[in-house]
Subunit: 308 residues, 4 copies
Amino acid sequence: MELNKPIRPAKITRDMTVDQLVDSLSGCAFGAGRIYEAVDIYREMINDPDCTKFLGLAGAMVPAGMRHIVSDMIRDKEIDILVSTGANLVHDIIESMGLHHYKGTDAIDDIKLKQDAVNRIYDVFLPEHHFTDFEEKLQSIFKEIPEKLSITQLLSHIGARLDDDASILKSAYDMNVPVYCPAIQDSIIGLQAWLYKQTNQLNVDVFEDMRGLIDRCFDAKRAGVMIIGGGVPKNFILQSMLVTPRSFDYAIALTMDRPETGGLSGATLDEARSWGKIGEKARSVTVYSDATITLPIIVAAAKSGRIK
Amino acid sequence: MELNKPIRPAKITRDMTVDQLVDSLSGCAFGAGRIYEAVDIYREMINDPDCTKFLGLAGAMVPAGMRHIVSDMIRDKEIDILVSTGANLVHDIIESMGLHHYKGTDAIDDIKLKQDAVNRIYDVFLPEHHFTDFEEKLQSIFKEIPEKLSITQLLSHIGARLDDDASILKSAYDMNVPVYCPAIQDSIIGLQAWLYKQTNQLNVDVFEDMRGLIDRCFDAKRAGVMIIGGGVPKNFILQSMLVTPRSFDYAIALTMDRPETGGLSGATLDEARSWGKIGEKARSVTVYSDATITLPIIVAAAKSGRIK
Amino acid sequence: MELNKPIRPAKITRDMTVDQLVDSLSGCAFGAGRIYEAVDIYREMINDPDCTKFLGLAGAMVPAGMRHIVSDMIRDKEIDILVSTGANLVHDIIESMGLHHYKGTDAIDDIKLKQDAVNRIYDVFLPEHHFTDFEEKLQSIFKEIPEKLSITQLLSHIGARLDDDASILKSAYDMNVPVYCPAIQDSIIGLQAWLYKQTNQLNVDVFEDMRGLIDRCFDAKRAGVMIIGGGVPKNFILQSMLVTPRSFDYAIALTMDRPETGGLSGATLDEARSWGKIGEKARSVTVYSDATITLPIIVAAAKSGRIK
Amino acid sequence: MELNKPIRPAKITRDMTVDQLVDSLSGCAFGAGRIYEAVDIYREMINDPDCTKFLGLAGAMVPAGMRHIVSDMIRDKEIDILVSTGANLVHDIIESMGLHHYKGTDAIDDIKLKQDAVNRIYDVFLPEHHFTDFEEKLQSIFKEIPEKLSITQLLSHIGARLDDDASILKSAYDMNVPVYCPAIQDSIIGLQAWLYKQTNQLNVDVFEDMRGLIDRCFDAKRAGVMIIGGGVPKNFILQSMLVTPRSFDYAIALTMDRPETGGLSGATLDEARSWGKIGEKARSVTVYSDATITLPIIVAAAKSGRIK
């Protein structure tokens, strides 16, 4: 066995840029080596004009403060197709209405919070009454949309009606990036739709969106994906490629989920190769670390190398 | 502070029953104490005639061999409402057709597997050609069903057409247990629907199911939930209670997901109290351990105490 | 690729024994398959008369209530050599003095606990004043022992002076099982030694124990190890085999630590094969699950198959 | 309940410094909020002239390429006292001899590696023959040192004999920073001592070092600790404070270990407050993320704010 890539220890300097820090980790191993690899793949992917770029967005990334990063990725054309959980979109809409999430703590009496009408998302607090404003907003939007449409179209209608350029849905609308949200009923948008349907007609077909997404997979010259967390977004992106003769050429996963329990969220990207979702020769890496730390690093470091 | 519950070390005896083992852990702490607590809550919940019982089923539990346990839980009336990922239902259908999953290994070259047309799910192998049979089955079922129906109705139609009493979908059909699968398009059932819709009419409304589920939440005298893994099933069950004046009285979560990354999958059950999804006085416990180990233990131990 | 071991779903029956439950998991995958494998290996190992059996004991297993299980393993000759953290031995001594740990909760104000003089170990509470009794006990023991001895000899002296057959140290003394504790100063035994040495002579050589342990490795016809948690016990056992021409023939690890961060605690048993610590043809398995759940299961199930 | 700290989403700019990135995360939650907090505490701690600064170093940080960062922290006076696992020191000595670790992969046949005489540490490869050179080096050093000494003194002798300013041990020697390694026999240094002692006298008392360390704890006006990983270094630092009337004023933990299994490695810093190891009013934060990613960020960001 030939050993020809010695570990080169990282070196920290005062006022170094994120790009320089990541470069300094290029000779390291474990997570340090993987974050370098992730930046390198991401840079290649966003600079590849023939690459259709997917983002899978799970976890409570918006409440954690990752909203501008994602909307900037959309506006900077680093995302062509977004697949999200419903929750991230709900919280995006809330913020776009000028309503805030608040820094809280996880070391708190949740029954006390309930009595104070404050909802907790780990160490983020959200006043319950925000959902009253949310209801008013959603119900007014539902009134303006066609009776029959797809999930993507519904989200596009919502995005068009938000007045905040930092919004993910608004940015996606502006940049013509389709937003897929397979489990939309599994969110407070869904609860609003349930409410609306008690007295109104609304028909959103669950399978309608698939054609558009799979067509994009068929048509892609090359394809790349960044997967934040697991869940539906991860699986939905990967399975859409499954039915095509193609496969992903670039794949980055940012997660803390582990493979050993066998769920798809923690499944390795190599496992996806056995299915043909990711290509034999694809570049891929999983960074096992909190995505609210690694996503900002990757986006910041890759920006420096971005070919304008 | 009064300290009045001394740790009583567990004691192992030859040929002890699962029930006796769990009893022996009743004075222990950490996971040992929690598995006892989970059994105790589960036993109370399934013996409570006024309790509506939910199961949230995420993770690849069917490929791992947990299928009979879940279908027996349904037939034994331990589940009134099932919320599942699409994947568990896909693999249930495959097994009900007499097709097998196989024991494999995670230490394998996935590109080799791809070339051999074997799909991997952690240490489970699945021949790719099973999906050809699956396609034939699903397409023939789609032809027989109404053009317009809900996800639950679609799954009920499938369940009715399976010839295997150990099947989850068949058992649910037989026992009149509704199966919710909010992200059904995020599964190979979804891919088959996409295929079918290329030449046929099929309209499955994404929000149609919510009324029935929420009505069950409204009507429940008491409510209990066992949550296996996280994902959509966990959130969908909890949010359905959110819009009612009620909340869950019993809650058990079996997961390896951790709270610190802030996602809903790893969120503590206490966090759910701040939202009012779980009640102030509810009994709840999370067992942080592989659910393919803890689910069999809990079901086995609780069976011994089951009031017939 | 030949696929010849179909997944056989587990089946739960009323009043089944732990042994029957584990047998029922023999055809399953993920953790369920691994716990069966662990029992199968453990059974072979304890029934192999030529096998020298090691136990690595890390984590707060004694405060959690696993003390009788370990002392019974010693008395049942399932352990020939014990390597432990200091903490487990400290808490064993405390319990052997008739002092208790108490069931508490991790959802508590730790500053309040401090003010109440209660120490917390996750969800276990320990009155601070127990350490006053502990001090008295240890100081009286130190006065009776030779000035110069090894760590193993020191622990043997302590074990001889405990009056509790359920004690790990007492059982080890009774059964002539050496107890290694490489990081003994990293425990409250160490703090007591520091106190004692302020006015007395005591010389415990840090390297003195190695010879005896390595000799046992050299002399073993076959060798097996059960590793609970990671840390020093895991590494110390494995490295002792490293300098011999031999390697472990059986290895079971019970842990929640993950490989991806690169530490030895989470390192796979396969990694240990690259070093020659575990043999090429050795049987090994890691069960990724809470050890306070999996240890009782394995010991209970294996007991049923024990050849007396 | 007053909610007055709205989440301020992070904003990424081209060529931003690490310091600016971390500042941009100051209004975020989850890991992003915690990494900002860690930098803020670390900056305060290293700029506090009355603070005695401890580093606990566990995990395979040296093989991963974190060696220069740690030795620079020592030379930049960010560490007054180092407590390490033996493994990190072994690999530091190897690198200081001009021998390399190599980038490898965790997806490899370990039996093949064994046959090629290559040892694996997750995705790092190490030629077995490096240990031959290591043996020669250590044996020659042992010959030059006193027969009777403490672990710290032994490590100081080794550091003095290394010819590499990037070495942790050499830097500690140069800067008069004591290095504690309670479990030194649990390392290849220990194996070399065992070998040496077969034909030579060497007496290293296991408890000898405690006095010096505890005296430093007693004498500290203020005390701060950064804990990388868990294990012996974490516990040894915290317990040394336990016997004093003082407690840590600053504490930062970088780990992936989780609290729920009850081990000390995953124990929260709040738990340490119940023991009085960390003070009631101390600033503390745990960042749950790969330390090979978070350590470089924290050191880089804090450097920018360093008062020279």
